[in-house]
Amino acid sequence: MIEVKDLHFTYPTGVEALRGIAITIDDGEFLAIMGQNGAGKTTLVKHFNGLLKPTKGEVVVDGVNTRKVSVAQLARKVGFVFQNPDHQLFCETVEEEVAFALRNFGFEENAIKKRVDWALNILDVMQYRQTSPFMLSGGERKRVALASVLAWDPQVVILDEPTIGQDHQQKEKLRQFIVQLNAQKKTVVVVTHDVEFVAECNPRVVLMSGGKIVVDGRAEEILTNPKLVAQASIVSPQITQIFLGLSDLGLPTNVIDVHEARRILLDFLEAHVS
């Protein structure tokens, strides 16, 4: 469980990035943090694995105050996948890359081999096992970076903009994968601008603006509220926009799921077109 109490953070340059954040993330929860650029999303999640320590207030992860432990100790529980895979890839082969963190955490060679196999398989990069990560495409590098974090099976997985640079098919695979992770009782925190992605996952959503939390609730409540959406400089999912446009016909406006939308429209057509 992650507990954030009255968190303030000011960068050494004087920029006040977080102003009084309070939030509790339960075990096994799926949370999406959204908001415009500079809202403080990444700054907030960097507190979850201790990369940043609060200027004021505190962050407690699994009963441990993040001020009191090192990043390495927290990282064992909290995996963090950075936005840009190029900021972490450095090994000669993909396999070595995935094993890097496992070696840092002192896993045994046998266990390392098994976990590397598992992670490479699950992220569909097994065929690049012996390839240099620098030779891969952007989307593949992103998946290798993801594999290198998931390999040690952290209890909490933080993903910073996971969908950037992924084609539609890979995005869908990633979505299924995240949902699957969450089904295994892992806590998943996603920082993203991608409303369509969030709409398909329907997680708990926290909207941030100016270093504060604007609203905290279910995706279908927040993404379908034009006022809130405008406040955080994002747009509603396309399917919601259609339903908002058709509200005069008496159709519901809180629809974010494509399948649900199809069902509602079919019902509507059945009732009104004879």
Binding site: L51, A72, F80, D86, H87
Partner: protein, 265 residues
């Protein structure tokens, strides 16, 4: 990273920021030469104080202090090496003399003077001005461009190094763990992504520039033309006088050590 902070330009305006970059650079070079000419503590202490009025007039005290703090680590190494090696080569096994201590301090202070003067220059000169200064000193444009780009990318790379460090720490890398060799090796996961991304960035920049017709015209003109003003002439002549004075002292006046000045020896 704190040492880089001391070289990061912030866009503010002050009498020092408005000085002609060529003159400012000449002034810094004069300081540099003077710091190299003398190896006794009293003149170096004097030299250390010369750029201070500039720091205060430009209002960059905080950044300047940060660069000084950043230089502390290297300064400590310089002091230690000077002290230890000179001691073992010349005085061992006698008790280290005061002059040895003074000499090592002087070498360390010399380093501070060098860092200080260049820090003042970079803190108060925008990369654009720097490029202009080079161009109008008839340095070929390609070189000027390469130089200003390099300067401009220092803070960008410093930020990137920080992100990379965060990313590797998040994968359990502990930079401070292990003996000296292991610690050096710990930096490989930082350096490789940094170098790779710098190369990638430069290639992208080259493509982006070429697609905007970089180098299409042989003779470039500039919107702004640097012109020397009163203050510039003042600083330039001051620098020349300082240099002449320093060379004169260096040639003809025996510079006393601090110990002699204070009457210890």
């Amino acid at each position: 990273m704190s040492m880089f902070e001391g070289f990061k330009f912030r866009r503010v305006s002050s009498a020092i920021h408005r000085l002609d970059p060529r003159v400012k650079f000449f002034f810094v070079c004069v300081l540099f030469v003077m710091a190299i000419l003398f190896n006794k503590l009293p003149p170096l202490i004097l030299l250390f104080f010369i750029p201070l009025p500039f720091v205060f007039m430009a209002g960059v005290q905080r950044e300047w202090l940060r660069s000084m703090r950043g230089a502390l680590f290297f300064a400590a190494i310089i002091f230690l090496f000077n002290f230890v090696f000179t001691y073992f080569y010349t005085q061992y096994p006698r008790f280290p003399s005061a002059s040895l201590l003074e000499r090592s301090s002087a070498m360390t202070l010399r380093f501070f003077v060098l860092v200080e003067s260049f820090s003042v220059f970079f803190l108060t000169t925008s990369p654009d001005h720097l490029g202009l200064a080079l161009e109008q000193s008839h340095v070929p444009y390609e070189f000027c461009f390469a130089f200003t780009t390099a300067v401009r990318f220092v803070p960008v790379l410093a930020d990137e190094a920080q992100t990379i460090m965060d990313a590797q720490k998040a994968r359990g890398l502990e930079l401070e763990r292990g003996n000296f060799l292991k610690r050096v090796r710990n930096y490989i996961p930082i350096l490789i992504p940094l170098i790779v991304s710098a190369i990638r960035r430069s290639l992208e920049l080259a493509e982006a520039m070429e697609s905007r017709a970089w180098g299409a015209s042989e003779k470039r003109t500039n919107l702004y033309v640097l012109k020397l003003k009163k203050a510039d002439y003042f600083l330039a002549s001051g620098s020349v006088l300082m240099l002449i004075f320093a060379v004169y002292v260096w040639l003809f006046v025996p510079v006393p050590s601090l110990a002699t000045l204070l009457g210890f020896s």
